[in-house]
Symmetry: D2
Subunit: 287 residues, 4 copies
């Protein structure tokens, strides 16, 4: 049982590696803004957004719409409006995993009991509402550029890949960074949620040891699928539960890569759903 | 029929006043980061989050949870996880209105037909997915400070209030700004969605004429309720439809006010729901 | 620990007292049809249907509607249509409780483990899909008639009430019957889910011992609220878990009472939701 | 424009051909009960229930479950319970179409305006809540038996098929009947919602002219797919809109066919959703 960052920020801490982002880190990240260009890193959300088979897709229910007025609805004071309702898994499209999302040995990050997350109440500890907004230095590790093209399904990204990509980025991943891994999977079109390119465990641990705050990727699970023999979501187990590092999944990274900037101000903010295990999110890079 | 900003950015434009935010404005906003402190401006989301009677509340459905493992669920490879599904109105908690949300005379911002927003398809034009991430200068207009306490229900905020608050903020609202109006309503507890303190129409137009990009408040509708006689949501009608200014509602502004900063880097990013009329949002101020 | 009907129909039985309804009972019930009049016993379902505070209300989402065509939607081959989506608690409006709905000492009816009902899978045993359609003799026990008016909140219905009402109905409740208890609560308007007229435990056991198949009422919980001191839902505990008798709640019984028939063919059929704990239902009396 | 049954039961009628079922018909149907055996005609409902691509599947959200207690939830007074929430299209699994579901030329059955069905309000006329419970004679027309096996996709069932099947059933379809057509599609497994065996228009009109009350089948649309050239859902258009005959779709008919009874008491009752366009339903045949 590993407990790498447990108790590092106190027995009650629920924010894990986000604690690596201090005010000075935010300020340094803001100084990276050179051009003022803003790049979205989020997938569009609709019934066509891909999702794994054990989840359901998004449903977008319109309530009042222009159709109501065309059909004769009143418009008091001239006012017309349209409204809608959203149904989606918390882990849908571009999203972030709360620290209560994955664990092992019945203990979450920092030793909180897994049994504290229940059907009626959601997560008692490490829910997405404890995460808060994230602003820090972003580092794009463009493995597509390093490898010369989008990675194949099942291709493992190792430490050497990260090191080469970091050199190209002009920024070693370090304390408090949001590290974004481009595998090219999203650009190829997602074919399967059972096999995908992604981090191997050693690469993930290399990032954790560098004290990064968040690890994201343009794939479904950050880590390579299928897993190494005998393991199930080993990167989730180690990064989320042992190091307290939230994972960002389903990023759109091609436009950022094309912008030619390896480091930038990264800003993202989950919906603070009480007891939630994650949140759809719409991150931005400010260049 | 007013069409203040129609065609200003071309016949196909769907972003309205967000076009006032150019790269230079973003860069200037990033330069406002002094301390690196990050303040969340979002309400927690749960079944207790207030909502108006014509909408429904949030439902948070847990799927797999710690309860499943306690009850004997398998944990292949040791892996345990929890997941959930979110159901909520797009206009819930802290949220932003897309430009397709409100209109009159059957035409949206820039003349797009209201009938293009339909039950089956959502908004054909000016949907929330066209908005993109927002990073710009934020200006807090703290009317609570100006008036000496939270405003009463029905209290109209006029141009003079804004001018006084702007002076206190140390920043005249101007081109491309995200202007955040603190009424104190949220701090009092929301009692009613039929009466609240908020902008009067003249104050709203004063902001629009200064070419701000976004107007937000810590109340339900930005504008004062009840409306002036004979009008229904006049600020929505004019700002959203005529000027193309999105409204940010349900902000939490007390912590920002207490931080003592009138201008800052504001960052917020809606979920890009295809054809959606708005989005729950979790904005931040970077001080 | 009581296990009144456990193993009565075998160790694998999931239908409980519904086993009391044999083909001969159905045939005898059909012979009660005299006039051929059909009376609905179901509440209308809408956002206005009352529900207890720990549940959420119904949401009825229209998809395609006449509004779409008014707004210009195509009608290939002339065809026009409207569709909708329903969201509701399984225990909403007029509904029936599956035998997995309530239990104690970690064991359901017939000794199945309570831990077999989980967030990811629903009920492994005694789910609503095991219930099947119900056709049997219905017996209306009109306590409103016996008492001379709708019962007050908190009024307990005892064995003597049932006996008097049975005499008036012209039919002693017996083996395989669906017994419907009219308290008058629905007619008064539901004021509270914390206090209501309903069966006391002795009356419930009196019915169970007569081997009835189903017990229903026009209130929220069949049983009287508040509970007798020291007990919580004692009638649910004993009838559902020990006797395997499903409860029918939220019935509309005034029209049936006014029809003047104490016994009739009762027909109702839950939606066979795999692993569900209950179902909204729309029962009928055929007179 | 055909208006076959319009005004037949008055200008305000919303029940259409269900008016053919009078009390005498119900009484005669009850007399068909010989053995007392009850056969369910409903599909199980789960995430695996097939649905056409323009709809979404069912979602079954557990709230409190046995997992909560295993994880330590309190059980006041010993009481334990499980609850859930259902989300599904109204036209899902075995279901019935309300008369507001399909129309043409902007008019529903009996001339009500199609524009009366709107996103905010649902159907103003002919909603599923106006249908009420259905008890009448059921007639099984077993085309599988007539043809010697399940029909192929695209196979049209004509008048001659119905006549042969009626002879085998020992009951000519007539006034007020619920006619159930067995194509064998469900037994083959549903492969496509674009091609299926079903009624041709002449066969549908043959039933309508015999004044049946309801037409059902074990396929997706009652009628044959693909449609005859130049038409779209012609049977829906004529039966629902012109004759006011509701359609029952997704029936399970093999067990009924194996029971060897051509006529029986049919009972089914939609959920009375205010303004709904249909309802999942769980019909029974009482033999």
């Amino acid at each position: 049982m590993s407990r790498d960052n447990w108790n590092r920020w106190g027995a009650e801490d629920e924010r894990g590696a986000l604690n690596h982002i201090d005010a000075a880190a935010v300020k340094r990240a803001a100084e990276l803004v050179v051009s003022g260009r803003v790049v979205s890193l989020a997938q569009p959300l609709s019934a066509r957004t891909p999702f794994p088979p054990h989840r359901a897709g998004m449903q977008h229910f319109m309530g009042r719409s222009g159709g109501d007025y065309a059909a004769g609805a009143r418009r008091p004071g001239g006012f017309q409006f349209a409204e809608d309702t959203l149904l989606m898994p918390a882990h849908f499209g571009t999203h972030i995993d709360a620290l209560c999302h994955a664990w092992y040995d019945d203990q979450l990050y920092n030793g909180f009991p897994g049994a504290g997350t229940r059907g009626t109440t959601g997560a008692a500890r490490c829910g997405i509402e404890t995460m808060g907004p994230i602003a820090t230095r972003g580092v794009l590790l463009d493995i597509v550029a390093v490898r010369g093209g989008p990675l194949a399904d099942g291709a493992a990204i190792g430490v050497a890949d990260l090191e080469r990509a970091a050199k190209a980025a002009g920024g070693e991943p370090g304390k408090g960074d949001a590290v974004l891994i481009r595998t090219g999977m999203a650009e190829r079109g997602i074919v399967s949620f059972e096999t995908e390119p992604g981090l191997d465990l050693a690469a993930a641990l290399w990032l954790a040891e560098r004290e990064v705050a968040v690890v994201g990727a343009d794939n479904f699970a950050v880590e390579v699928l299928p897993f190494a023999a005998g393991s199930v979501f080993p990167v989730h187990q180690r990064l989320i539960r042992d190091f307290g590092i939230p994972l960002l999944e389903g990023l759109v990274l091609q436009p950022l890569a094309e912008a030619g900037r390896g480091t930038f101000l990264f800003a993202a903010s989950p919906l603070p759903v009480a007891g939630g295990t994650g949140s759809p999110i719409s991150p931005m890079a400010i260049l």
